[in-house]
Subunit: 337 residues, 4 copies
């Protein structure tokens, strides 16, 4: 932690800060320059973080030196985390493909999509039973019935399944039916929900909030690890910017950045980020080329009748074609699908 003092800071003010820092058990180092005096505090930065040093008289600004997260950092655990779900590995050499409809609408449709994505090479089936919708007038999901359909589709195809948890009262229900629990972008800072899934035994896919910095995203993951669940998959799904030609701006930098800052696997969602299925193939290939550990894609057999996100869903045949292309890109960067 570096404490930069104002040009007019007095000796008494400097002493006051130094006393405070020492009282926490830390060692301040004072450097006096022509224009500013700075106080460096090396060591347990966390002890200082809870102190509102900016309000101390004479302080101009406080600059942290260390990252605020720990358990999720590569410094804490240098080796890649590989998460295994019913035989599917996420984070290793193989690029995972999670595919399926946005929302579960009825069993036949779900099963048909599940079969076609499996045939094309997907490793996990996605499908929402509880849907976070911007408008109260939009379809809110089938709820428990949808979860049962999902479990049945899993039984018939052998694909592990992922579904979103929105209300922490539904955790047990979702744990019963799903293999991976998804936390949506809008709940990335629903800290009570994070604590609950931190106590779960199931892997968690944590989507990045649409205005979350990478630091905040990793701190949200830290909530989960700190509560005991180390099986967290990060998912970049686009951030909100001024550009409206696509729904969100996919932050492709996040892929190599997460890889360098954290040991957790990262997957990319080209469907929600673009909002248009026509962009999905290019972005999916870019994600794999950039080093993503997987992609999560919306596939729907009848987009015209989809109750949710029809415009961004690929037809099964388009998805199958994409899988062929993705395999080539994966191989070009030393991965497999």
């Amino acid at each position: 932690m570096i404490i930069v003092l104002k040009p007019e800071a007095t000796e008494a003010q400097i002493k006051h800060i130094v006393t405070k820092v020492k009282s926490i058990g830390l060692k301040p180092m004072i450097s006096r320059g022509a224009e500013r005096t700075i106080i460096g505090v090396i060591g347990e930065e966390d002890l200082l973080r809870v102190q509102p040093l900016e309000v101390f008289p004479g302080v101009e600004k406080v600059m942290p030196v260390l990252a605020p997260y720990k358990l999720v950092s590569r410094e804490f655990k240098p080796a890649d985390t590989i998460i295994e779900v019913n035989g599917v590995k996420i984070g290793g050499k193989k690029v995972a493909v999670l595919a399926g409809p946005c929302a579960i609408e009825n069993f036949e449709l779900l099963l048909s999509i599940a079969r076609s994505v499996k045939k094309a090479g997907a490793s996990v089936l996605r499908g929402g039973a509880f849907k976070p919708r911007t408008s109260p007038y939009s379809f809110q999901g089938l709820g428990e019935e949808g979860l049962k359909f999902l479990a049945e589709a899993k039984k018939r195809t052998g694909l592990p399944v992922i579904t979103e948890l929105m209300d922490l009262r539904d955790l047990e229900l979702i744990e019963r039916h799903a293999d991976i629990i998804q936390i949506g972008a809008r709940n990335m800072q629903n800290f009570d929900l994070l604590k609950e899934v931190g106590r779960s035994k199931k892997p968690v896919l944590l989507k990045r909030g649409m205005a979350a910095t990478i630091k905040e995203w990793l701190l949200s993951a830290e909530y989960i690890l700190q509560n005991g669940n180390f099986n967290v998959i990060l998912c970049e799904r686009g951030i909100r910017t001024f550009e409206t030609e696509a729904r969100y701006t996919l932050d492709i930098n996040a892929v190599p950045l997460i890889k360098s800052l954290s040991h957790l696997p990262i997957v990319v969602d080209p469907s929600h980020s673009s909002g248009r299925w026509g962009l999905v193939p290019a972005i999916a290939k870019a994600a794999v080329a950039a080093g993503a550990d997987g992609i999560i894609v919306e596939v729907h057999a009848k987009p015209e009748e989809a109750l949710c996100d029809g415009p961004q869903s690929m037809l099964p045949e388009k998805f199958a074609k994409l899988m062929v292309e993705l395999r080539k890109v994966a191989r070009a960067v030393g991965r497999e699908i």
Copy 2:
């Protein structure tokens, strides 16, 4: 709803769309131009919203004509909503001032702050018992004990109190102790939480999400009204932009925009938006001049020891001085404090 067709759309495709629109009971009107054909559908736009028209063959884009919210709109209810909380009116001629510490830390401090903000003219006491913190290592609030302190401070000062609800399992507890329930920016799209407070009898202060458009914010308010609770106060608290000199960019446009789009009262939070108490007076005055129905300000008697947001808290004497200035600005725009 306007459906714009691609230049190459065929007659069969146009017919397919027209049939679909009619099957929902709506009347399509076709306009054929040199470069594009468009289909206008006037009427119950909501019936069409759930249809993924963008995926129909031949469609280039779909443009909604009506706002997606209803109950919160000024079109639905032209007169200003005035919310009364223990004798304090929010939304009328008087500008409400909600003030207090970020987090409740101990009873004596809370009471002392409550007394000083009351003396300066504040109408509601704020204080957090459950705190949404970006890092799991930050102070998370006193919980139920904090609520009891708040209730006791209310008893002693007569000020109604507002506090944040994060976990819907705490709703009953918070309803017991608080007069206004605050939904924080990070939970603005926690739809299950919105539905729950929609069923509450207590007024709700709904903070704008840091990346929420005004449209999305109003749709979140719509969730609350649609579940039966019409006492919603909107709170602009800054949006996330590229500028980092202050913590967030306060969207001052939101004040007149909300006033024109909705009948709900709007208050402004200059403390969280700026992250620095030095900016609070200028922004508070700007908010009142722009027509805000209130402000919510952090005041702390000992910011150096604050467990949360010390840097943005004003000292009681600075707050008292601000209140004197605010009264003048309020009068200049035909309001009172």
Copy 3:
């Protein structure tokens, strides 16, 4: 300048950096902590800025301590700069009001608008002869003819005039006709243009770029001062964010921030920032309440026929009404109009 080293930095790497710092004539101070070593360099930070220290082996990041601008800073010149233009002061107790049409379209209209804004109390007449238009198919301005109209309107009304310079080859022409040279948002980082107006004797109004941080904006002003022209007026005109309900998001925080960081006067443009005249009164009042030294407003007698920005132009009678309200707000914050 603080140089933070990687945990694995070697002694040889540290020595290499220390040698480099010393070779520039600066004094490095090494602080060794448990998790990181940091090197503080106090003094002529500028000498280090041109060194790409981040690329030195062993360096994790480099954090500047001092602001990168000098002449524009309040540290350099504590007293407010007051700029005088033909008897009108900008930056003092009086709030300046610059008003007029977006573009100069014909002389009669310009004169009629000039007379009505003067009558309402405006102190400077604005009007564009060269217009920066997003599309090549939009009206590009009358050019030199427009400047002559502007000069004539000045002669008839006595109002000093401001107009935009886009092409540095037009500088002399504009200097001949205008009292204040405007640099538009799109040219805020047209550094050759900044250097040229830095050599001019006329005051310059420098609009903030739509994606410029306050730091970059001040650095652009620094280009002008550093070339010899100290009469710079800063103009906040809205930044680009994800919100589209208004054209730009006016950064109201910029007003108190600029006041604390710089001695230069700041004015606010509520017309371009909102893009809708209906928002102008609220934002103009907010700007004055926040401490702005002036506002620049678009007024047009016949918005239906405006060749540029009709939707954001106020009718003269609406502007006159706004002036009455603004005077009250100015008085409430100890200013005058």
Copy 4:
């Protein structure tokens, strides 16, 4: 163009608008619905664009149907534009690689970098002689001397060269020495500069402004084409968002979006967008996988001594390794390098 009327619009107001539309020679079509009346105007949308229809009494909003650009659009010219520069094709099957130092510092260094990037397979040499620098205290480039070094490096290596034009008075000078003229992000809306290069015979690489929408970027390109120069290469170089972990957020969506909206080639700049050489390989590979027609990369033999952008420059050996990887990715998506 769709004109949406307010619910309270009168018949007289509707008639007034209809008359105006007809007077321009266009045909309005009125659709009356329960909640709104809309007027569709199909045809020469440009004729209406210059009309400030939003200010007409009774109008709620105006929604354009057609894109505002023409010559750059794929609708205007369906086939890909392929630009040939001294035998190098940009926009065809081969992915172009433009590489070199950020700024030209001295001849020996430039030549050494030029030779190494050529050997690794780059097709164009980049290097700045005039540098747009945020701070007036940063290195501003060697100017004409730098251009001569560049021309000499071209002569010795055979690589065509690209360099930035900032000041339109330098156009002739740059045309003499360079094969491609670069317009930087900060000048994307310097419309006078765009018009000038529109009259040049040299191809232009137009960088996207850091806050420019894709629409605005294409309109800036339209300025160049409309002035007669059809050889424009678009360059995505990252947009400004709230995320600060990298310097800018590379908008990878822009690659497939430009491909669908325009016939112009698009290249990606992974160096400026990330600001850190460590991110360059991942982003370069992502760009090629997404369908970019080229990349422009900063390479420097001695980043520790670079006068500009050292931290984002790759060492020649790292660049050579990247080229090997890029070739594989290019092949995986049916391209070549």
